[in-house]
């Protein structure tokens, strides 16, 4: 990977690039460029989207939400000097049976983009499900440097993008 200067991108840079079809799933998941730290059905995050966490303080804010049940210890063990955290959340779901997890991580765009492909599960129609509101999410740890942007696909119709 080329040295990656932190580029401050300016307003208006909304990229609506069509999703790269994830049919070329990276089968080298062992490459430690991104790893799922934990996932939970109750993250307490009410909106679908993602949060990029660089500091323990920010992490702490995310861990103090009501209606939350996460493996806090695993998240606190992440060394934020080496890895940042990407919270990918589905937002509030009306029942149990919903989940999101990391399916694959791959480099794109001359290694400038880290793509995280998410696997989203929802109960099939007609499945019996618990009737408590859930807020599923997954937390992925990524090295702090090495790319200009992170694109998360599979959660919404268009990619969720973090510019670094």
């Amino acid at each position: 990977m080329a040295g990656s200067p932190l580029v401050q991108l300016v307003a208006g840079c909304v990229l609506l690039v069509a999703c790269a079809a994830p049919d070329t799933v990276d089968d080298k998941l062992s490459v430690p460029m991104a790893r799922q730290v934990t996932q939970s059905a109750h993250c307490g995050l009410t909106g679908p989207g993602l949060a990029y966490v660089r500091t323990p303080e920010r992490l702490q804010q995310l861990l103090e939400l009501p209606a939350q049940n996460m493996a806090i210890q695993q998240l606190r063990q992440v060394d934020m000097a080496k890895e940042h955290l990407v919270f990918v959340t589905l937002g509030e779901k009306p029942t149990g049976g919903h989940s999101v997890s990391l399916a694959s991580a791959e480099m794109e765009n001359n290694d400038n983009t880290l793509r995280l492909v998410m696997a989203v599960r929802a109960p099939a129609p007609g499945t019996m499900v618990s009737q408590a509101i859930t807020s599923p999410c997954t937390v992925v740890a990524v090295p702090t440097t090495g790319w200009l942007e992170i694109r998360v696909s599979g959660v919404r119709a268009s990619d969720l993008v973090v510019k670094l």
Binding site: V14, N69, E92, I133
Partner: protein, 897 residues
């Protein structure tokens, strides 16, 4: 005026809008008079939550004018204030500036022992320490500093200090700008603190006496003078249960209590007595009111029990539902057979019958694929679970054991039946097998009295209906969650005829935003709503109960708040369990008959007969009324009050009429002995006369606000003593509040934005923007239709779908709604709904409420937390080089950082 606005545009934002409003004659400056006119596209009003104040020299205000305040701002006795301090001025990443404002001072009256808390919030420049000091005439009374963290700090008026006017000083002791929220104890906690139900929980004419020397029975009888006390039982060496001489008995019950206490006081003066105490009955310790969780601010008090009058039910039926078995068909329980969650273990059927885990292999995750006899909930194989079945079971029958919380039927038996596996999903075949099993067709008798089904999502299936009908014919009562799809589509099993279908309400008894509704709803119960604080206790309305969490890598038992119709159904199951403990014959038909007569629910329809509604069915379950209805089969005669809790406020009702109704076999025999209320702020306008008898009485009361301290809630009780089959007393809680701050509420200048519903990255695109300052405790706002003429003004909105949000920018960083700033979302914070702006149409009368609190409130502090993945809504910037009225607004500010 124009010159003023020009000055503002040097910095940013939509000041232009106010000017446009003025030019078009739509009201005065930003946020003035009723702005709705034919030329407006969208207009409305933003209310401000009680007690809200703002630091007058916040960075947004400083960007508009002048220098920091030199004087102290006055604060009311209860408040929540957001503020800004910074040791120096500077520029944020981006272009926004922040001003120097090294400290803020506030002046307020502090009561003895009162404390003030401060929650620090970093700006985008990162954390920096703050110091909070309490000063009296320049003398430092108490000082505490933050430690660069986000933890709240607190100063209290030391015991040695007297109540009076003190100065609070918030100082930036680091180099970076900081936001903070300063508040008296969390909104509503004063109310909660005085929410102690009076209990008369000691035995009449009895005392436990510790003697100075060991007294055996013989020596004691000789040494204790006759007529002082009579030994009843030796409890321990030298410790005796004593009876009072018979002449201390009095005619009225309260006199008996008082005379018992008088007698104990005289005992304590006797030379041979080391200590005499009342013989406290265990009854008061045996209701969930006394459990730590009941008023635990860190988890959230169990408001949902108050809402359904459970405390009254526990007085009427004090057996906790003993002898009634409730099958919880769910995800199983946390723990293992014989060692369940410690708050449930005592009530779980022991030993469990064989075959209680019905989860088939496709959904199973408990390590033993397929059906077995262990209904333990293993949690989710992937990701953290909340132990759904454990939570549901806790609401029904967590034990009263001095730890955690308790269920409504706290002595009922729990039969865990596992039908939901991984992630809370399962199959109708497994449910069918479980339903047939619980009906007990194979063993000749039902395996449970009540079946709670906090599950749904199934289509109609005749086999399930038949299994339920078979069980109902054998006396089983089925209760099910109506579902969380905010839909009217019938959801099964709730919608089967012989299942009580339960919709969910929030803390105000209003249908929860997610709850299903429809003509198939039978009744409602608290399910919570994380996005609301309907009961205004300063916390989001979650239902607290037993659960487990991953702590240090392993699941440990705990208590958490959840929301859903899953949480509502067990309230009803538990109330039915209390009822069935008195009347085993209560089956579906009998319960439904009483439900339709209004005997089981709280409904207020002006005295007339209440129709069934699609939202709440026959109404919100009322545990007090329900248990009274069940106990009417016995000889008891009770008086019950409606409403059961009276709220009087200068902002709400000043007077109330309370209806008293008699229940029992012979309610005509109820005779009123006395009606009294001790608080000086409550006037009894009309009361039934002493010796009145009958079945219906009424009491009229009026709040005397001048006798109340402004801004503070007080609580008292109206005591009705009456005689039916025996002497009884009814205590009606009354809460009074003199609200004085409505006009003074201010959350800082508000920016009102219409944003694109689809976020780009972690920011929403702002399409139109206006601003407003608080007048008379409200903000008025108005957007204009986009006339297509370039340049587009900031407050012009083209037709389309938008999310409407508003908030303050106290740190002047160009983002609103992040932690430490006020935020409002339409219709309620946390539950944004799209608003459609159509060509040529005007939307008026939009109503929102702004607050520093978020749906994400945690702990007992008004802890404002951001929406993760969300840094605030970006304000559209006014170009600094633009002319006053012609600034071209950027149309998209999406992925800006």
């Amino acid at each position: 005026m124009r010159a003023n606005f020009r000055a503002a545009t040097l910095f940013k934002h939509s000041i232009l809008v106010g000017l446009v409003a003025a030019l078009t004659g739509c009201g005065g400056s930003s946020g003035g008079n009723e702005p709705a006119t034919a030329s407006s596209a969208l207009s409305g009003t933003i209310d401000i939550e009680t007690g809200t104040r703002v630091d007058a020299d916040n960075a947004d205000a400083l960007s508009l004018n002048s220098s920091p305040l030199r004087t102290s701002q006055s604060l009311p006795p209860e408040f929540i204030l957001a503020g800004y301090v910074s040791a120096s001025s500077g520029i944020y990443p981006g272009l926004s500036r922040y001003s120097a404002d090294p400290f803020d001072t506030f002046s307020m009256f502090l009561r003895k022992g009162q404390s003030i808390s401060l929650q620090p919030f970093s700006t985008i420049r990162g954390p920096s320490p703050l110091t909070l000091s309490l000063l009296s005439d320049g003398r430092d009374v108490a000082t505490v500093s933050t430690s660069n963290q986000s933890d709240p700090i607190r100063v209290s008026l030391p015991d040695a200090e007297t109540a009076g006017t003190y100065t609070l000083k918030v100082e930036a002791t680091g180099s970076e700008p900081m936001l903070y929220i300063l508040s008296t104890s969390a909104a509503g906690s004063a109310l909660a603190a005085s929410f102690d139900w009076p209990d008369h929980d000691f035995a009449d004419a009895e005392a436990i006496v510790v003697f100075r020397q060991n007294k055996d029975q013989v020596s004691m009888r000789s040494s204790v003078p006759q007529g002082v006390m009579e030994p009843e039982m030796e409890l321990a060496p030298g410790v005796w249960l004593m009876k009072a001489p018979s002449q201390t008995a009095r005619s009225s019950r309260s006199q008996t209590k008082e005379s018992t206490l008088d007698w104990i006081r005289t005992l304590n003066k006797r030379p041979e007595v080391a200590l005499a105490t009342p013989n406290y009955t265990m009854r008061a310790m045996q209701t969930p009111l006394d459990e730590p969780l009941y008023n635990n601010p860190s988890v959230g008090q169990q408001w949902h029990y108050e809402l359904i009058n459970a405390p009254i039910a526990w007085q009427i039926i004090n057996n906790g539902g003993v002898g009634v078995t409730v099958a919880v068909m769910d995800t199983g329980l946390y723990g293992a057979p014989g060692n369940w969650h410690s708050d449930l273990n005592a009530n779980v059927v022991q030993p469990l019958p064989a075959g209680t885990d019905f989860v088939s292999e496709a959904f199973d995750n408990d390590g033993v694929p397929g059906r077995d006899s262990n209904p333990s909930d293993p949690g989710n194989a992937v990701g953290t679970s909340v132990f759904h079945g454990t939570h549901v079971a806790g609401t029904i029958a967590a034990a009263v054991n001095g730890a955690g919380g308790a269920g409504i039927a706290y002595k009922a038996s729990l039969l865990p039946v596992r039908v939901l596996g991984e992630g809370g999903t399962g199959s109708s075949a497994d449910l069918l097998a479980a339903l047939n099993w619980v009906a007990g067709l194979d063993v000749g008798k039902p395996r449970a009295d009540i079946v709670n089904l906090s599950l749904g999502g199934l289509p109609f299936q005749p086999q399930l209906r038949d299994a339920i009908n078979a069980g109902a014919d054998r006396g089983i009562v089925y209760v099910a969650a109506a579902g969380n799809s905010a839909s009217t589509l019938a959801s099964y099993p709730a919608a089967y005829e012989k299942v009580f279908s339960v919709s969910a309400v929030d803390g105000a008894g209003v249908l929860a935003s997610y709850s299903n509704s429809g003509d198939w709803i039978d009744l409602a119960a608290p399910g919570g709503d994380a996005s609301r604080d309907g009961n205004a206790d300063g916390r989001s309305d979650l239902v607290s109960s037993t659960s487990a969490s991953i702590i240090n890598g392993a699941p440990k038992e705990t208590y958490i708040g959840l929301q859903g119709t899953s949480m509502a159904a067990p309230h009803v199951s538990a109330v039915f369990a209390l009822m069935k403990s008195l009347d085993k014959e209560l089956d579906y038909e009998r319960l439904n008959d009483r439900l339709m007569k209004g005997e089981l629910t709280y409904r207020d329809c002006g005295g007339g007969s209440c129709p069934k509604t699609s939202e709440l069915g026959w109404g919100l379950v009322d545990a007090g009324k329900s248990t009274l209805a069940a106990s009417a089969n016995s000889v008891s005669e009770f008086l019950t009050a409606s409403p059961s809790i009276v709220n009087l406020s200068t902002e709400g009702e000043l007077s109330a009429s309370i209806s008293l109704s008699a229940y029992g076999n012979n309610p005509d025999g109820i005779t009123i002995d006395s009606v009294s209320a001790a608080a000086p702020w409550l006037q009894l306008d009309s009361v039934p006369a002493s010796e009145d008898s009958g079945t219906d009485f009424s009491i009229g009361v009026t709040l005397l606000p001048e006798a109340l301290e402004a801004g503070i809630s007080e609580r008292t009780t109206i005591v009705v003593e009456y005689t039916g089959d025996e002497f009884r007393r009814l205590e009606i809680p009354v809460i009074g509040q003199r609200v004085t701050d409505q006009q003074a509420r201010d959350a800082g200048r508000h920016f009102v934005l219409l944003v694109d519903p689809e976020p780009e990255g972690d920011l929403y695109t702002t399409v139109a923007q206006t601003s407003s300052v608080a007048e008379n405790g409200q903000y008025q706002f108005s957007f204009m239709p986009d006339d297509g003429i370039e340049p587009k003004l900031l407050n012009e909105v083209p037709p389309g779908k938008y999310i409407l949000v508003a908030g303050s920018d106290l740190d002047n960083d160009g983002l609103i709604c992040h932690a430490g700033e006020a935020c409002s979302e339409y219709p309620v914070a946390g539950l944004r709904e799209e608003i459609t702006v159509r060509l040529g149409e005007t939307v008026t009368g939009i109503r929102m409420t702004t607050s520093y609190s978020r749906p994400a409130i945690s702990a007992n502090t008004p802890d404002i937390l951001p929406r993760p993945g969300f840094r605030g809504y970006k304000l559209m910037q006014q170009r600094s080089d633009s002319g006053g009225t012609s600034g071209a607004a950027p149309k998209t500010i999406g992925a800006a950082r």
